[in-house]
């Protein structure tokens, strides 16, 4: 990929940005989701309404926040509400169109782990934990996951279900009383996965320029199903790259 004029993180972020529509309300996690949402709001989705879990509603930060509670979010928000209010009146009430999450592990049914690698009682790696993710995954109308693609991250079964994707398959979300549709797309640095409409199993539906399907299957910890004719992600436009790079600075270029 070294011949391409953009990095794999950049195509991932741009692809994620493209999946947000103008006018949507978006519950934004920090890191990759925040970068992608801010690219979207500066390109095709100027009316994207970003909510960070610190209670900043309609934030439009002039630069990327390092945390979900940076001052720039409060200063640019339509209004700032308390944490109980953002979770109860906004998220739980089903007012958010799309929840935009990162993850340490995701599995075949798009269940998400941000808690531990290994056994919970005696973990190999202790991760930060749940934060707002379980209820974002439960209550947003849709969820989009953005994360880098490798076999440690894409596992057959997550070590810990921090946030429910499609559980163990069809009907599980309904049975669990989860009101939103759950993950509709997982965007990685290699391609795009979506749950099969029937089986809910994550299926490769798109690959980024220069990426082979075999490579994606190789980087996935289960026998990945592949759509008949996976879409090729359109290359990042100059405008997209320039916005992205102005946000991330040299580090990501």
């Amino acid at each position: 990929m070294s011949t391409l004029p953009w990095t794999s993180d950049e195509i991932m972020t741009v692809a994620a940005a493209r999946s947000l529509s103008d006018g949507m309300s978006c519950f934004v996690g920090i890191g990759l989701p925040s970068t992608a949402a801010n690219v979207a709001s500066r390109t095709h989705a100027p009316g994207l309404w970003m909510i960070y879990e610190s209670g900043t509603l309609g934030a439009s930060p002039g630069h990327l926040p390092l945390s979900i509670g940076d001052g720039i979010l409060a200063e640019t928000a339509d209004t700032v509400v308390s944490v109980p209010e953002v979770f109860n009146y906004w998220l739980q009430a089903g007012r958010i169109d799309v929840g935009f999450l990162g993850a340490a592990q995701v599995d075949r049914y798009a269940n998400i782990n941000t808690t531990v690698i290994g056994d919970y009682a005696d973990p190999e790696v202790r991760l930060p934990g749940a934060g707002g993710a379980p209820e974002i995954a439960a209550s947003c109308r849709e969820v989009i996951v953005i994360m880098r693609h490798d076999r440690r991250a894409f596992v057959d079964k997550v070590d810990f279900v921090t946030s429910v994707g499609h559980g163990a398959g069809p009907g599980d979300r309904e049975r669990l009383g989860l009101t939103g549709a759950g993950p509709v797309r997982v965007i990685t640095d290699l391609g795009v996965l979506e749950p099969d409409p029937i089986t809910r199993e994550l299926t490769l539906v798109g690959v980024h320029p220069g990426v082979e399907v075999a490579h994606v299957r190789e980087a996935t910890g289960w026998d990945l199903r592949v759509a008949e004719d996976p879409r090729r992600t359109p290359e990042p436009t100059g405008a997209e790259l320039s916005v992205l790079r102005s946000l991330t600075g040299a580090a990501h270029i």
Binding site: L66, P84, Q92
Partner: protein, 281 residues
Amino acid sequence: MAVPLDEAVGRLVHDGDTVALEGFTHLIPVAAGHEIIRQGLRDLTLVRMTPDIVYDQLVGAGCARKLVFSWGGNPGVGSLHRFRDAVTRSWPVPLEIEEHSHAGMANRYVAGASGLPFAVLRGYSGTGLIGNNPHVKTIVCPFTGQELAAVPALNPDVTVIHAQRADAAGNVQLWGITGIQKEAAMAAVRVLVTVEEVVDELEPVPGQVVLPARVVDAVSVAPGGAAPSYAHGYYERDNSAYKDWDAVGRDREAFGAWLAELTGSTGSEPPSTSDPVGKGA
């Protein structure tokens, strides 16, 4: 009404207490956390939605026996290595953990502030947080039959927060991202507030939360007391300090040196060494 911070901590925080030092990225009561370390408090149950580096420091210093939380990390940087070391290697002392989602923790504080024994929310369903946590149960709506999650109220012995200002009577004013501070304070038995300054009159500010003096037990003046987090209208977040903590927190020895400097002790040893394995995490 303002009292020196060392006196306030000495009076309000005791070994074995359940203590919440709250702040959601903004207005984190770091100075008070450091004073708790300096006074060598032990066996605390530390509570916070977003334990970050000051909790890493409290855990590394051996102040806590338990952590109740929903997201423990160094925001924008990565993991908390003292926290990891305590959880995975019991260093310097074993750390029990009880973990929730943000929505669960927020509603636990709301119930605590409301004088209710529990809160109801749509949450936890299907997650691993249930199996590992006896503090999440199911409740059935008596009108619709729907199943929902129930979590017990959180009522810390002491809640510590940092605010921009107080007046002489002890009324406290904070603004910007106000997070969960009001609920955490009102849920607590005792409340300690550090402030940037005490002023004659709390001029109203848009987006403010005012905590009336009667829910505040002590106000201590601690300018810069939220650094390296920020105080809206006073100073910015010191992002480099968060990044720099990563190297210190990763290494028991570096942490020991940091701790010695904080507490003014001569050696660079950690406060206890119950883990014979030595330098870890």
